[in-house]
Symmetry: C2
Subunit: 457 residues, 2 copies
Amino acid sequence: MVEDKENIQFELTDELIEKVELLVSNAEDKKLKSLLNEFHFADVAEILDELDLDDSVYVIKLLDSETTADILTELDEDTREKVLENLSAKEIAEEVEELDTDDAADIISELPEERQAEVISRIEDDEHREEITELLAYDEDTAGGLMAKELVKVYETWTVAGCLRRIRGQAAEVTRVHSIYVVNKEEKLIGRLSLKDLIVAKSEQKIADIAKDNVDWVNVNDDVEDVAKVMSKYDLEAIPVVDNNQKLLGRITIDDIVDVLKEEAEKDYQMAAGITGDVEADDSILELTRARLPWLFLGLVGGVGAFIIMYFFEENLPKEAIILFLFTPLIAAMAGNVGVQSSAIIVQGLANDDVKGSINSRLIKEMLLATLNGFILSLFLFLFVFAWEQDFKLALAISISLVAVIIIAGLIGTFIPLFLDKRGIDPAIATGPFITTSNDILGILIYFWIAKLILGI
Amino acid sequence: MVEDKENIQFELTDELIEKVELLVSNAEDKKLKSLLNEFHFADVAEILDELDLDDSVYVIKLLDSETTADILTELDEDTREKVLENLSAKEIAEEVEELDTDDAADIISELPEERQAEVISRIEDDEHREEITELLAYDEDTAGGLMAKELVKVYETWTVAGCLRRIRGQAAEVTRVHSIYVVNKEEKLIGRLSLKDLIVAKSEQKIADIAKDNVDWVNVNDDVEDVAKVMSKYDLEAIPVVDNNQKLLGRITIDDIVDVLKEEAEKDYQMAAGITGDVEADDSILELTRARLPWLFLGLVGGVGAFIIMYFFEENLPKEAIILFLFTPLIAAMAGNVGVQSSAIIVQGLANDDVKGSINSRLIKEMLLATLNGFILSLFLFLFVFAWEQDFKLALAISISLVAVIIIAGLIGTFIPLFLDKRGIDPAIATGPFITTSNDILGILIYFWIAKLILGI
């Protein structure tokens, strides 16, 4: 029977964690086992992430390797690293035996170099060991680094009946059968089939006759981001991976792509907020500082730059012009905001292949946009300054400067990511503090320069 | 045979668009058809997005409704709206007949109210019409709004052989068979099966005996974001949707979840950059202004606030203290950067259910973090100011203010998203210009207040 607990999203409560801790400290193994077996392995991983290291290791050693292998793949990287340090090479090899080749290779690749070889040598299944070794050779940012060796493969010369018979063997080791890949005698990918196609076909038909030849595939060296784009654009749930000779090497499934997409989105989001490195809210203060301080330092240098600019303007300005200085935070903020908006929309457009046309046409569009925004905003600022200071010329100088600053900030925010992208550099680094800081300084410089010109001082 | 073109990512070139435009204007229907039939429907949609409306409508009317229905689902919303305006209710109904119920309902829901009923009444297949009408009743942000009615359902009392026979009928209308759902005679979901399970089972076995009872499901009223979380956490490729009585209503597939995740990520990213509403780089200047101007206006108001604060400090400060004003852009920038970093990491943590522990423990952690960052940065600022002005007290006043500003900015950036989340408001609105602007003002206020105190002026 379907029970209610399976639908309701698992909730990690303090009570649950305390309960597990108590069972561990009392070594009530049987109760602990039966409690944890109620949960999905992804949920058990969440519990272990919260326990002390010793307790986590205790649980991992207690449960069957069939379950713990899956739990290991779902742990936070930090927790996993520490747990693995506490397992012997033989124990890790046993976990790895239970996993699909892609997950197995991921876990082994996280181990220190010297342990990797030891763990691999302890894997008893020869085929599994060889496949994992093959996968470890690929760069983790390529299709090869993401693919699994597990797939269902049939030869074009087989009959439907023979195929069904042999698939039973292959399918047993494949968690989910998305597509059946058809190869010729040189192992080259030439088509695909669904299980459904097999079931509806007559048993004496040849595979070559019922296979679909419009099979999408990616090269083993393709970038994972490109693989993600292809799979999400064409709504594919699995895609075969081939080498340069079209030989079938493995397959990538959509759940791995979902992870890639999430990581990409998080990286871009953090970059836009001035955080580098893949940190989480629960990381240590030191890790968080390492991710945040460099960008703050950039902001500090920018602020010092702004000070220096203002210092030299101040020397040459009459005392009554001090009112200009009181608007510098406004000018800097507007320059920063406009810059971030423009760069974010370009970075996102580039990620979605939405940015068409030349850099020039982009810049012209941004200029029109910034001019429109700038005029509206400057009108308000003009009215405020005029009402406050009763000085028409001053109000005019400040608001005209604002229009200029907004236009230039928009152009910089548009140009830099496009320029970086053309040069093959990730345009996302040009969002956040980078754009804000450069626009702050430039904005203040332009502001004083134009204001001085208009006020004739 | 597998040809090379299928792997290489489709590229939308100006030549290709010109070629299509030429074929349309010369009404070379046959050539046009054979050219476009080479491409995947998602690629044809990209071509149509670039054509003039008349040309797009021409192509849609030219191709078979089997192809065009899929193309319609992939068009940009703007293009689709315009194309649909140029099709009769009967023509739209014909397109809709070809689509799965979820895509059909999505397209109909975009039509103006008065056309919806007309199109629905023109759908010839009674079952399809009823199912679409049912789906249209659900809120688009719920599981019901995302699910399709197409699924493979078997009764627990059937045998494997009988099941395989009947599945051939059902499977024909389901694009991809992820799971076979097992129901009892009241249509309540009680388990699931994979095609693989069916194939390996003996033909006389009862479904009830081979079904797995640990089937995940979501309620039809569950929020799509929660559905996405469950599916990506448990690596599900499809999930059945049930009503409050556990009756099986439909299923949601991973490709729809990929779209939900992408949209969510884009929304948060844009929010952090001060852009609201789902705009793209290629939208019109007016649409982009509407999405950007409100946040810029907020920044303007903040800047005016900063001006007012500085104005009153300036009145009461001696002339030699003008040097303080030259550091306000630095102080504002640091307050803004720290605030955005803190809020972004909390917003992301909340989205990933990564934020554990109480608000208080979060605030204490952020305080430690900000203090560490603040001291390091202030040390540099102290050295710079002292070197520049040779004034120990001034350097001390400015750098101590900076520490205070950084700590408070960090606390605000942490507190506001947590507070909003507790109140059930999307914490993502508290990123970007909102945090920057409030921290700018508060930062400047704290800065002058502390500096005044230390300098004793």
